[in-house]
C-alpha cells in the first residue's frame, strides 16, 4: 500500500517537474544559445591571440588580461566613460526630475511638453550626433563662424568664448557628455513622472495640514517615496552612459587622439583597426564584469535604502 502511494507520489512529482521544465525549456534554450553560449565563447576567445580570420588561434592564457591591466589608454577610456556617467547622473537626472516635477503639476500644455521632452530619446544617436556636430562646428567662412553656437556667441558679443568645441581636448568630452545627457534625459523624465503620479495625494494633503511648506513636502514626502524609482533611473543611466559610443563616433569620429575614447570605442578599435580579436574580447569580458559589479552594488544600495 505504502509502495503504491510512493509510486503515485513520485509520478505526480515527476509530472510536475516535467511540466515546469517543458514550459521554461524554449526560453532557456533561446537564452542559452543567444546569451550564455556567446558569453562563454567570448571568454574563451579572450584567452587566445587571434586576428579574426585565421583558423588558427594561439592559446596565451591570461596574457590579454595582464596586458589590459597595464594598458593606460584603456584605463583613460574607462575614466572618460565615468566622467560622462557622472555628468549624466547629475545634470541629466536633475533635469529629468525637475521637468517631471513641473509636468506633474496642473499646467497648461502638459501633454505637449511630455511629448517634446520625450523626443530626443527616440531620435537616432547618429542623427543627434550629426545635428550637434553642426551646432558645435568651429568652421569659418569669410571670417565668420558658421557653427550655430559660435555664430550665436559672436552675435551676442561673446567672441572670447568662441572655441573649437569638438577638437579641443578641454571641451570635447564635456560637450559629448552634455549631448548624451540631452539625448537621454527623456527616459528618466518619463520614469520619474510615472513614479510621481503613483504617490498618494493624501500624503501631500496630510503634510499640508501639518503645516509643511513646499520644500519640506518635497524633502519629506516626494523624495522618500521616489527613492526606488530614482535608483532604477540611476542604474539605467550608469549602464547607458558607460556604454555610450555611437554618439562619440558621430561627433568626433576617430579623431582627437585618445581624448574622447571610451571602453566600447577601444574594443571596436582593437577588433577593426589593430585586428586583436582576443584582446578585444578580454576588454569586453572585463568591461562586462565591471558593469555587472556596478549593477549589483546599486542593487545592494537599493535594498539597504528600502530597509531604512
Amino acid at each position: 500500500m505504502s509502495t503504491n502511494a510512493a509510486k503515485t507520489f513520485n509520478f505526480s512529482k515527476l509530472r510536475y517537474t516535467l511540466e515546469s521544465f517543458a514550459f521554461i525549456f524554449p526560453a532557456v534554450s533561446i537564452f542559452s544559445i543567444f546569451y550564455i553560449f556567446p558569453f562563454f565563447y567570448i571568454f574563451k576567445l579572450s584567452l587566445y591571440e587571434w586576428n579574426g580570420l585565421s583558423p588558427f588561434m594561439s592559446f596565451i592564457g591570461l596574457e590579454n588580461f595582464i596586458e589590459l591591466m597595464r594598458d593606460k589608454i584603456w584605463w583613460t577610456s574607462m575614466w572618460h566613460a565615468c566622467y560622462i556617467t557622472l555628468i549624466a547622473l547629475t545634470f541629466q537626472n536633475m533635469l529629468a526630475f525637475g521637468l517631471a516635477l513641473a509636468c506633474d503639476r496642473e499646467i497648461r500644455l502638459k501633454k505637449f511638453y511630455r511629448v517634446v521632452f520625450f523626443l530626443p530619446p527616440v531620435l537616432s544617436e547618429v542623427v543627434v550626433g550629426f545635428i550637434w556636430r553642426w551646432v558645435l562646428n568651429a568652421g569659418e567662412q569669410n571670417g565668420e563662424p558658421y557653427g550655430l553656437l559660435n555664430f550665436a556667441l559672436m552675435k551676442s558679443g561673446l567672441n572670447h568664448l568662441i572655441t573649437d568645441w569638438l577638437s579641443n581636448p578641454d571641451t570635447a568630452l564635456t560637450c559629448i557628455a552634455i549631448v548624451h545627457s540631452w539625448k537621454g534625459f527623456g527616459w528618466g523624465f518619463i520614469m520619474l513622472l510615472a513614479g510621481l503620479q503613483t504617490i498618494d495625494k493624501q500624503l501631500y494633503e496630510a503634510a499640508k495640514v501639518d503645516g509643511a511648506n513646499s520644500w519640506e513636502t518635497f524633502k519629506n514626502v516626494t523624495v522618500p517615496m521616489m527613492i526606488p524609482v530614482i535608483l532604477v533611473v540611476m542604474i539605467l543611466t550608469v549602464l547607458g552612459s558607460m556604454q555610450v559610443f555611437v554618439l562619440i563616433l558621430s561627433m568626433v569620429g576617430q579623431g582627437l587622439e585618445y581624448e574622447a575614447e571610451v571602453p566600447v570605442t577601444r574594443i571596436l578599435a582593437a577588433m577593426t583597426s589593430s585586428k586583436q580579436y582576443g584582446y578585444a574580447c578580454a576588454m569586453g569580458v572585463t568591461f562586462g564584469a565591471i558593469l555587472i559589479f556596478i549593477s549589483f552594488s546599486f542593487k545592494k544600495i537599493s535594498e539597504r535604502m528600502k530597509q531604512v
Partner: protein, 434 residues
C-alpha cells in the same frame, strides 16, 4: 497536461529546427550571382549595369549595398568567419588582411583568367591598379604568387586648390614647394580664407598625408626599413615628417576642427569654398560636382619638401572586387567582372560616377580635372603594394600621434618616442610568436 507538454516540445523542436534551417546556406540559383559593395555613389550605376547584363546573358546579378565602408569591412570579416560570403565582394583592408583572406581560402586565384588569350584582360587594365591585387613570388605574406582581384577603377590622393581663392590672395599658379605653400597659406589667412582642409578625423587620411612626405623626405627604402624595424621612428627624418603637422598648426594653415572632421565634411568645406586647399582623392570630383558645379579647382602633387626623393602619393586601384573561392557560380561571377571591366562598361561607369576607369581604353571619356589626377598615376604607391606593412597596432599609435600634434598635446619628438616604444613592444611580441 500531455497536450501542453507535447505542444511545448513541438514548439521547441520547431524553433530549434528553424534555427538550423536559418543557419544553413540557402540553395543557390545557378543563374543568380550576388555582389556586395560599399560605394553609395555607384550603387545606382551598378544596378543599371546589372540590368543590362541580365538582358544580355540571362544572369541575374544581385547588387547589395552595405555602407559606410567601416560597417562593410566588419560585415565581410564576420561573413568570412561564418562562411557565408557572396560570389563577388571586396576586401577593404590592409594587404595583410587581403593575404589572410587568400590564405584561408576565401578568395579565388584569377591568374589564369588574366593570362588567357595572351594576357588580353591583364593588358587592358592599368598595371598600377592590378598591382594591388597581385602577389609576387617570395612575397612576405606566404601567399602563392598570382592575381587575386579585379580593379574596378583607379584612384589617387593629391592636393586640390581653389583657383578663385588663390587669385584673390594674389597668386596665379599653385605652389611648387612646401615653403611656397606655407607662404600662400599665410596670404590666404590675411584675406580670411583658411588654408588646408582634409578629413583627418579618419585616421587613414592623416596617415596617407604623412606617408607622402615620408617618401619625399627619406625615400621608399628607408620607410620600408622602418617598418622592418631597422630604422627607429626617432630618426631625424621621421621627426621631420611629424614636424610638418606642427608647422601646419603653428602657421594656422589648417581649417578649424580638422582633427575630428570626417572626409565627407571636409569635401563639403572645399566645395563651398571654406578652404583654399584640400587633400583628397580623385573620387571627390563627383562630390564637388554635386555640391558646387561652378567650383573652379585644379590638382597638384602635395608640394615637396625635399628634392632628394620624389613625392609619392597613395593611389592605384580604387575599388577592387574579388571572387569567392567557395562560390558555386565562380565562372559566372568571373564572367561578370570581366564584362564590368571591359571598355564600354568602364566608359559608362566613368561618365556616370566621374571616377578614373581601370581600363586604359576608357580614359577618353573622362573630364579635365580627372585627367589632371590621371597624369600623376606614375607617382602612385600604396600600402597594398609595399613589400612590408607596418603592424596595425603601431599604425594606430602613429596616426593618433599625428592627431596629438595637431591638438597641441605632444611635440613631434614625443610622438616619435612613443611610436618607437610601441614598435619595439610589437617586435618583441613578434619574436616570441616565432
Amino acid at each position: 497536461m500531455k497536450k501542453i507538454i507535447s505542444f511545448c516540445l513541438v514548439l521547441t523542436s520547431f524553433m530549434v529546427s528553424f534555427g538550423f534551417v536559418s543557419c544553413s546556406r540557402p540553395k543557390k540559383d545557378p543563374n543568380t550571382i550576388t555582389l556586395w559593395h560599399w560605394m553609395t555613389d555607384r550603387d545606382k550605376t551598378f544596378k543599371e549595369l546589372a540590368a543590362q547584363y541580365k538582358e544580355l546573358t540571362g544572369i541575374d546579378v544581385q547588387i547589395e549595398l552595405f555602407a559606410p565602408s567601416d560597417s562593410y569591412t566588419q560585415k565581410v570579416v564576420a561573413s568570412a568567419q561564418a562562411k557565408i560570403l557572396p560570389d563577388i565582394y571586396g576586401v577593404l583592408d590592409t594587404k595583410e588582411t587581403f593575404a589572410n583572406f587568400i590564405k584561408y581560402g576565401y578568395i579565388a586565384d584569377l591568374t589564369q583568367e588574366f593570362k588567357k588569350n595572351d594576357g588580353e584582360w591583364e593588358k587592358e587594365l592599368f598595371t598600377k591598379a592590378l598591382d594591388a591585387n597581385r602577389f609576387e613570388p617570395g612575397n612576405g605574406y606566404d601567399v602563392p604568387p598570382g592575381i587575386y582581384g579585379v580593379p574596378l577603377d583607379v584612384t589617387n590622393i593629391q592636393m586640390l586648390y581653389n583657383k578663385k581663392l588663390l587669385k584673390k590672395a594674389g597668386y596665379d599658379a599653385p605652389p611648387e614647394t612646401y615653403d611656397e605653400f606655407l607662404e600662400m597659406a599665410k596670404a590666404l589667412k590675411r584675406i580670411g580664407v583658411p588654408g588646408l582642409v582634409s578629413g583627418w578625423g579618419e585616421l587613414w587620411l592623416a596617415d596617407c598625408f604623412a606617408s607622402n612626405y615620408a617618401f619625399n623626405i627619406m625615400g621608399e627604402e628607408k620607410v620600408m626599413a622602418t617598418y622592418r624595424g631597422e630604422v627607429p621612428y626617432t630618426d631625424k627624418d621621421w621627426v621631420r615628417v611629424f614636424q610638418i603637422f606642427k608647422d601646419l598648426v603653428d602657421g594656422d594653415v589648417l581649417v578649424k576642427g580638422v582633427v575630428t572632421k570626417p572626409n565627407k565634411e571636409a569635401e563639403q568645406d572645399f566645395a563651398l569654398e571654406r578652404a583654399a586647399f584640400a587633400f583628397n582623392g580623385s573620387w571627390s570630383v563627383n562630390v564637388y560636382k554635386e555640391i558646387n558645379p561652378d567650383l573652379e579647382y585644379g590638382v597638384i602633387l602635395p608640394p615637396a619638401i625635399s628634392n632628394k626623393y620624389p613625392m609619392r602619393i597613395w593611389g592605384g586601384a580604387g575599388s577592387n572586387f574579388v571572387i569567392s573561392n567557395t562560390s558555386p557560380n565562380k565562372e559566372k561571377a568571373i564572367a561578370f567582372v570581366r564584362w564590368l571591366t571591359s571598355q564600354k562598361q568602364q566608359a559608362y561607369l566613368a561618365e556616370q560616377t566621374r571616377n578614373l576607369p581601370s581600363n586604359k581604353k576608357a580614359l577618353s571619356s573622362i573630364s579635365k580635372v580627372l585627367e589632371e589626377f590621371a597624369q600623376s598615376m606614375d607617382n602612385t604607391t600604396h600600402p597594398t603594394i609595399w613589400p612590408v606593412n607596418e603592424s596595425p597596432v603601431v599604425t594606430e599609435k602613429y596616426t593618433k600621434g599625428l592627431q596629438s600634434i595637431i591638438i597641441g598635446k605632444k611635440s613631434p619628438e614625443e610622438v616619435a618616442k612613443e611610436i618607437q616604444e610601441v614598435k619595439e613592444k610589437e617586435m618583441e611580441k613578434e619574436q616570441r610568436r616565432k
